[in-house]
Symmetry: C2
Subunit: 267 residues, 2 copies
């Protein structure tokens, strides 16, 4: 498994997987595709999400990747079958998060938040109950959280974001959950606000981190440990719009030369 | 000019133009296209917006329309040239709104709100100053208002929406504007909250209403006044998702048979 690791998302959220994977496997090359020309996926129909995901995968395969991570909660939930028969390992964010949640819960009450499409798919609930039918699972769609993150309203003190989070999460708090799956790779940027709302006794499962850990188990470091992996970024809208928010997710600035534009609709 | 009137938007906002036009010209047939598979346009780059608008127009032309209205503040501001050389009348929402704002203002201080792409284009400011260089124009991007409307958080008492509107509009209030252009066809659904924030002395210009009035002047009623016009709706994502929110904009429910899906990326 020598080729680069391919990671795709509807937009920017999947960069949180890149961030974790760079730390876990610093020697591996990564190719990231963000479908910024058609983001968000979470409000679209399953058919459209599946079509877009097929095109995203086709692009990564054209780059010779040796493994693909769907770093998008919506694709992983609604269209996990897009990863079948690719001839290379394919990983979504649902399975690793489900395993982590089951390890974390004590009282068997687990909450799941995600985009409208993710929650409508009931993918998390089905997988959780398959692993352990005695669990109680409570799902909540949070359609405004992605726009809030993309607008940069992520400060812990932001009154609007705090009130939106409170409105979405209060029903889950009332159910007495002790574990909450952040079923969208944008949500870790709101971790402090979510934690303030849910209280310290609720464990938050970061789907991006869990999928990066699972990927690191499959894709071992390359032999020359001294090799410093390179990250290349591809997007379907303008490069400068991506650059300005990417730093928020990655924790470091990227240079414009490392980002290229792709005409994804032609694939 | 016998063919139907074609109207397009990135998604649902343009339905407010349909609503007004049906009242002004009840005898005319209307064909609406909403690019629900790629909404929103307002956060994308000018190149991508232009590409999408060309495809939207191509679809309407394939339906034999006799006139096209870009009922999308973003397309009208960023890519008005997409309507050149079509051989049929083409109308955006900027010009009619600019004229209405100039008629409305007494103190010459005009505010403009819109999506990020609309405000970055400075289309409203340029047109207003071209008409009257002594005007003072103040622009403000409001990227979260479209997601709030699409989430249905439009009640006058909604604390989140009120606070978001207050945060965006306070700088305009401080400038002492007496006229505010709602530069996005989603915003009329927030009219009461915007009015509460700005005060009764500020005139709100509804771009959808103004463009419908301008279109009605060009497209006269057809000769058989008794003919009841038919509205046909086309979308690029699933039909049922569109149906459920369309009623909010139109003020009446539409039947699923009047909505069809189009593969817009192939055009």
């Amino acid at each position: 498994m020598k080729g680069p690791i391919g990671i795709f998302d509807s937009g920017l959220g999947g960069l949180s997987v890149v961030k974790h994977l760079c730390k876990l496997l610093p020697s591996r090359d990564i190719i990231y595709f963000g479908d910024t020309g058609r983001v968000p996926y979470g409000s679209r129909s399953p058919e459209t999400i599946e079509k877009y995901a097929h095109q995203d995968i086709k692009f990564l395969q054209s780059q010779g990747v040796s493994m693909i991570i769907a770093a998008c909660g919506t694709v992983s939930s609604v269209a996990p079958h897009v990863g079948e028969n690719l001839g290379i390992p394919f990983l979504g964010v649902v399975d690793p998060a489900v395993k982590a949640a089951i390890r974390a819960t004590s009282n068997g009450k687990i909450g799941v938040i995600g985009t409208a499409a993710t929650i409508n798919s009931r993918a998390y609930t089905r997988k959780l109950l398959k692993e352990n039918p005695s669990l109680e699972v409570f799902e909540q769609p949070c359609p405004l959280l992605v726009p809030l993150v993309e607008a940069g309203w992520i400060s812990r003190e932001d009154l609007v974001t705090r009130e939106v989070v409170r409105r979405y999460l209060s029903p889950l708090n009332e159910k007495g959950i002790d574990t909450l799956i952040l079923g969208c790779t944008h949500y870790p940027l709101l971790k402090s606000i979510i934690s303030d709302t849910m209280g310290q006794n609720v464990t938050l499962i970061d789907t991006g981190l869990e999928s990066a850990k699972a990927a690191a188990k499959i894709a071992a470091p390359i032999s020359h440990e001294s090799h410093k992996g390179k990250c290349s970024f591809f997007v379907s809208d303008k490069v400068d719009g991506f650059k300005s928010i990417a730093g928020m997710f990655l924790g470091y600035e990227i240079s414009e030369e490392d980002i290229k534009r792709v005409d994804i609709e032609k694939l």
